[in-house]
């Protein structure tokens, strides 16, 4: 039997395991911090059809980009619900979705959002620099102070967002 084949039978699984170990170990928190970048101005409706704009985001808000087609959004949903129960003001940015499907999704899984900005073409998302769903942006007085791509986890919340919010509250 071919020697290299024998070698491959063992080598390929080792490479696969090594790859997974690397992915597992690496710190996957991709935090993009800004020196206070201003949130883009916009004029859109929320999912209930009420007009919303820049002013609606005053104060401390967590803007969460979501869509009914996004599986990871469903994964982070219970945690967002928990945060909203703890009085974190979360504003949804419904991204490239249809209002019917989005409302149905919220009805089915519960609504943690104060309101959801309806952005079917992704205009605001484009100005904001959204690459996909889910993403979360922390706004303090309309300034984006931190953002993450991907799922919101307790670890990301506690290490990145919570300290910034605390700091902002203390400054006031």
């Amino acid at each position: 039997m071919n020697k290299s084949l024998r070698f491959l039978i063992v080598l390929v699984p080792i490479m696969i395991f090594a790859f997974f170990a690397k992915v597992l170990i690496q710190d996957d928190d991709k935090v993009l911090r800004f020196d206070a970048k201003i949130f883009p101005s916009f004029q859109l409706n929320d999912l209930d059809g009420n007009p919303v704009n820049y002013e609606s985001l005053n104060g401390i808000k967590l803007v969460n980009v979501w869509a009914s087609w996004c599986i990871t959004c469903l994964v982070e949903h219970p945690y967002l619900t928990k945060l909203s129960d703890e009085n974190v003001q979360i504003v949804g940015l419904n991204y490239k979705d249809s209002d019917n499907k989005a409302s149905e999704w919220l009805q089915k899984h519960g609504n943690p959002y104060v309101f959801s900005i309806y952005d079917p073409r992704g205009d605001l998302a484009f100005d904001l620099g959204v690459t996909g769903a889910p993403e979360s942006y922390l706004l303090i007085d309309n300034q984006v102070v931190a953002s993450i791509q991907g799922e919101m986890t307790p670890k990301k919340w506690e290490t990145i967002f919570y300290p910034l919010i605390n700091q902002a509250r203390n400054n006031k």
Partner: protein, 632 residues
């Protein structure tokens, strides 16, 4: 303190498994003592019994609402019916891992004790099984301990099981799936033992054949139930989503299917022996990989358990070591395995090998689909997602080629090729019938889309080949392998049903106020929203809607619901389905709009019943195969 007893019993099992391994490794190089096996076997049986008792106690605690145990407190509730108190055990990570271990132990115990006492591979198989059970037990106790207490005071009330899991399907879907997954530990350990043993005159296929067939049946039922559950209960509106977790269940299934075919072939001719061995190892390795993907949270999925890198790392290292142990010895023994027998082209085993290659190709494609987002993210940090279009495009041609080989193999012989002339007729007739049938489909539906048509054509080829074969053998009173024919007809029907479903099904979103009525299309002449009620049930409130339809001249009443669960405040959607032979009328309610009307999602899904039916046929075919062998 019964909880501590249960914990203690599991710990004792760990100790005994360690003793078995240490004891046997001390004597590994020396001469084997005559009583060594009996003693090891006795210890093994006792350790297994301890695990069963420990699990039994845990079930008892869950039934009796011991909310001082953290796991029970966070996944059960005193208001739950007893049935769900039990099934809540496998509704999350720790408990389901416990169940997995119990099944692993049960399979191992039954298999080891079924082997003759003097079987030369008995001791090595026992050691391999002990090692695997020990690894999982340690994983349970070290990283995901279900026995943990809430101290000093227990919870007064449990947090309740997730409402979507309050369904009879949950009670059976995971257990069936796990029985299937872990059932292949037998082929894995036995083949490893055979390779370690090094006496290649021994026959190994016979001893594990039935076990693998039974495990395959469980795996098939488990996957089908999962799909059924997603469709009927979760209100997902579909039956298969190419979700990573579905994919990691499909990979061992494909490997197992390939394994059984080549196991069958290697009982007829020795040509595929080595390959069969490799597959036997691969199935369980893929099951381990599946456990790793689901339980490490490395890939986002609706199925994922809590994200915990530590668990992931343990599982990765453990399954890596076990897999490498088996593959390493396989690679080491490869030169001494006598394999180089020439495959006659046109013989049954040649088609079988081709389809084996196709199945491995599908496994690889799925593996790539599952890991590709991770690879890309590791390379440049971008997030990509791989969805149904990828799988549909890859699978359509694979299915077509596989069907052609299946068609050719129906009338072929073992170790001999048949002259083209004698095969031509058996290929020509099914081919013509399929072409005529697909023309009819095109004519009737007036829809054309390439991928579903490939699926339909593949299904028809398989279906007509076997039907023609049964028909002609019936006329000439020749033998037919009933089990295989039924299972393959099931496969053909599955391809047909899935493809027809994808071209015919449609969806409508509606807005209606109570009392209103509209016409939807030629088929549904009337859709009326008759009544809406709010009801109270033991642990939830129900908004119940009554809708009546006039569909194809028949009156149908549907009763979709929305439920709000009191303990968790979660809202679930209960779809209402009217199923006829050809199509399902699937209705869910959405929100109430400001003007008082409600939104509805109406889906007409074709051939859904046929999907479950064809899966049942495959299982039935396999049962016949097992049963018939016992009789003859």
């Amino acid at each position: 303190m019964i909880g501590e007893l249960s914990h203690f019993l599991s710990l004792s099992a760990v100790v005994i498994f360690c003793l078995i391994l240490i004891f046997n490794s001390i004597f590994f190089f020396g001469k084997i003592h005559p009583n060594q096996l009996s003693l090891s076997l006795r210890m093994f049986n006792q350790a297994c019994s301890l695990i069963f008792i420990s699990f039994g106690i845990f079930v008892y605690l869950s039934i009796n609402d011991d909310f001082s145990i953290a796991y029970i407190a966070s996944h059960s509730n005193s208001q739950l019916p007893i049935f769900y108190k039990i099934s809540s055990i496998w509704s999350a990570h720790e408990g389901s891992m416990f169940l997995w271990i119990v099944f692993l132990t049960a399979w191992s115990l039954l298999f080891i004790n079924s082997l003759h006492h003097d079987h030369p591979l008995k001791r090595k198989t026992l050691l391999m099984l002990s090692l695997i059970i020990l690894g999982f037990l340690l994983f349970l106790l070290l990283t995901s301990n279900p026995f943990e207490r809430i101290l000093p005071f227990g919870a007064i009330e449990g947090a309740d099981i997730n409402p979507v899991l309050q369904d009879p399907a949950l009670a059976i879907h995971p257990p069936m799936l796990y029985l299937g997954y872990v059932g292949f530990v037998i082929s894995f350990s036995f083949i490893s033992a055979y390779l370690f043993h090094g006496n290649f005159e021994l026959e190994w296929e016979k001893d594990i054949k039935d076990w693998s067939l039974v495990a395959w049946i469980f795996l098939t039922i488990g996957i089908t139930l999962g799909s059924w559950w997603a469709y009927y209960e979760l209100g997902w509106g579909g039956y298969w989503f190419w979700d990573p977790v579905e994919n990691v269940a499909l990979m061992p299934w494909l490997a197992a299917t390939a394994f059984m075919h080549s196991l069958y072939a290697s009982s007829k001719s020795s040509v595929l022996k080595t390959w069969t061995m490799f597959l036997g190892i691969l199935i369980f390795a893929l099951s381990l990989f599946g456990a790793f993907i689901v339980r490490s949270g490395i890939i986002d999925s609706v199925h994922s358990f809590a994200n915990d890198p530590q668990r992931g790392l343990y599982l990765l290292i453990f399954s890596g070591l076990i897999t490498l142990l088996a593959l390493g010895i396989f690679s080491y023994r490869l030169p001494s395995l006598n394999v180089s027998r020439y495959i006659v082209s046109g013989s049954k085993e040649s088609y079988l090998s081709m389809n084996n290659i196709l199945m491995i190709t599908s496994i690889f494609s799925i593996f790539l689909g599952v890991t590709y987002p991770l690879i890309i993210e590791a390379l440049n940090g971008e997030k990509v997602s791989i969805g149904p279009p990828y799988y549909n495009t890859i699978f359509a041609p694979l299915i077509l080629i596989a069907s052609i080989f299946i068609m050719a193999s129906v009338d072929s012989l073992w170790q001999r090729s048949k002259p083209i002339k004698s095969v031509a007729l058996t290929i020509f007739i099914p081919l013509m019938l399929s072409i005529i049938f697909i023309y009819i489909v095109w004519h009737v539906t007036a829809i054309f889309s390439i991928l579903p048509y490939i699926g339909i054509f593949s299904g028809l080829l398989i279906l007509f080949s076997y039907l023609y074969r049964i028909f002609s053998n019936f006329l000439s009173k020749k033998f037919i392998n009933t089990g295989s024919a039924i299972a393959h007809i099931g496969l053909g029907l599955l391809f047909l049903a899935v493809s027809l479903n994808s071209i015919l099904s449609y969806e409508k979103n509606l807005n209606l106020a109570p009392g209103e009525s509209i016409q939807i299309n030629q088929s549904i002449k009337e859709f009326s929203f008759d009544d809406i009620k709010v009801l109270k049930a033991s642990n939830h409130d129900v908004i119940s809607v009554e809708v009546s339809l006039v569909q194809d001249g028949k009156n149908i009443s549907l009763n979709p619901q929305k439920r709000k669960y009191s303990t968790r405040g979660q809202i679930t959607t209960e779809s209402s389905i009217h199923a006829s032979v050809l199509k399902d009328t699937y209705l869910t309610i959405g929100d109430q709009l400001e003007n008082g009307s409600w939104t509805f999602a109406l889906k007409i899904n074709y051939f859904i019943k046929w999907i479950w039916f064809s899966a049942s046929l495959m299982v039935l075919g396999m049962l016949i195969t097992i049963f018939k062998k016992k009789v003859t």
